[in-house]
Amino acid sequence: MNSLNAMFPLLTLIVGALLVLILEVSIKRENKTYLAFISIIFLMICGFFCVQSWGKDFSYFNNHLYLDNFALFFSIVLIITTILVTLISMKYLSLQNTNVGEYYALLLLALSGMLIMVSSSDLIVIFLGLEVLSMSSYTLAGLKRDDQKSSEAALKYFLLGSFASAFLVYGLALLYGVSNSTSIAVIIDHFKTESSLSFMAFAGLGLVIVGFGFKIAVVPFHMWTPDVYQGAPTPITAFFSIGPKAVGFAVLVRLLYPFWHVAYDSEVIFSLLWIISALTMIIGNLIALRQTNIKRMLAYSSIAHAGYLMVAILSQDTSSLMFYFVVYLFMNIGAFAAVIALGKKDKEYLELDDYAGIGFKYPWIGATFAVFLFSLAGFPPTGGFLAKFYVFSAAVREGLVSLVIIGVLASLVSVYYYLRIIVYMYMREPTHEVDINLENPALFLVLFLCLYGVLQLGIFPGNILLIIKQAVSSIAFL
């Protein structure tokens, strides 16, 4: 249905971002936290609009913006991510001396870029959304301006990110040349009428997949991930590990699922993605083994998780992909929140040695962190187990047995480095004094919410599966 309602979530975010930017000028440095509350209010209004348009298929701009349930589901997941990230940032920013108001505005703008990406099926609009997201992300990564690592992270993210965008744009140009359109549906229709894909079509599709491969950080396009994740402010790392990945996979679903039904020639792309998926799971987990920096280790773990998600793309099972994202959201933000909790004025504890004895000194933080790590490793009764189980069982149904074997072996390897942190927390004597700032109610709220999410999804996943079912049944391939 053509209606202005389709614009409301986006408009809310942009108005919110501009308001935060205007207010930031007139607010004193120590009061900047109020801006976080303003942006949370706008995020909630935006979420309200998304929930309200559920099932109504609003569209605008000649269907370039199309809010089907699939888009709305991802929008809501991303809005929840941003709310949680805003909450864990509040104290962190003043502790780390980066208390600037632009931070919240940039988060809102990044979110608006992501909403554009998930709710469009025209590749040029998706590209523009991607650039809105990327531009805000580059800046967010470098927001700790006095920290050399943060600037370096921003630089690396910028160079490799825009390099990847150039690939994406050139791929789009070739696809446009083949089919005279940038709408995914028209491109796929064109593929259906041809007897075999031309070289140009293959090159175009390949370049587009490479472009998105950079954004979702799959091997061999993952080189930037560990450096950027390590250097960026920790809440932003949590944001990067979920936001860009979620939208990248949402776009791949829209692009590749109809393409699999083009019977001929799609095997080449399929086997290419098969190899990428296997490599991502193996290399991500193996390199994570020898990391001693927690943020870097979580970066490699998020690369490995992109590999598992790729399995879901290959087995064409959208519902397991979406369930995985919901679980991944809670366990990953939870893990990063626990990392942030271990910090005080101008100091973050990020090395593995710092975690020795934490489990007894700060029992609550230690216990919740342990639950998130168990979930990331995929132990029952946490959500991480069910998520992996759905993805792999869907893949077995589709006959991808060898890929599933690689995946299960790789996740066995991952148990080692997740459990190593728990071993450090509970079985090592602390080597040096670690004292942290505990006056951080928002952070503990997030820890609690994520703990609840991980356990609820692991024990009673019924409701969310029902919602996912509704969302999957309505994917519009316009």
Partner: protein
Amino acid sequence: MVPTSYFIILSAILFVLGAFAFFVKRDLITQFLCIEVMLSAANLAFIAFAKSASSLDGQIIVIFIITVAAAEAAVGLAIILLVYRQKKTIKSEDMNLMKG
């Protein structure tokens, strides 16, 4: 009239040159300009395809891409400047604080 394929070949050459130079060059500004060359290659391809199919879409897309490239330049140069202030160098091999 010059056939479309000429433009496409030219744009492909430009794109490959840009991508190649991105890996070979060791200067951040040059690397950044390589990306701009790659974007221009895409622009050229879009215009050539739009002309041969006589559709306007391609030309409008080019304007979008130019806008994006301009915004990217603003953010990118600011980041390079920030790095230069801290390290007093813009050689990419000096960006080595994080490893592993």
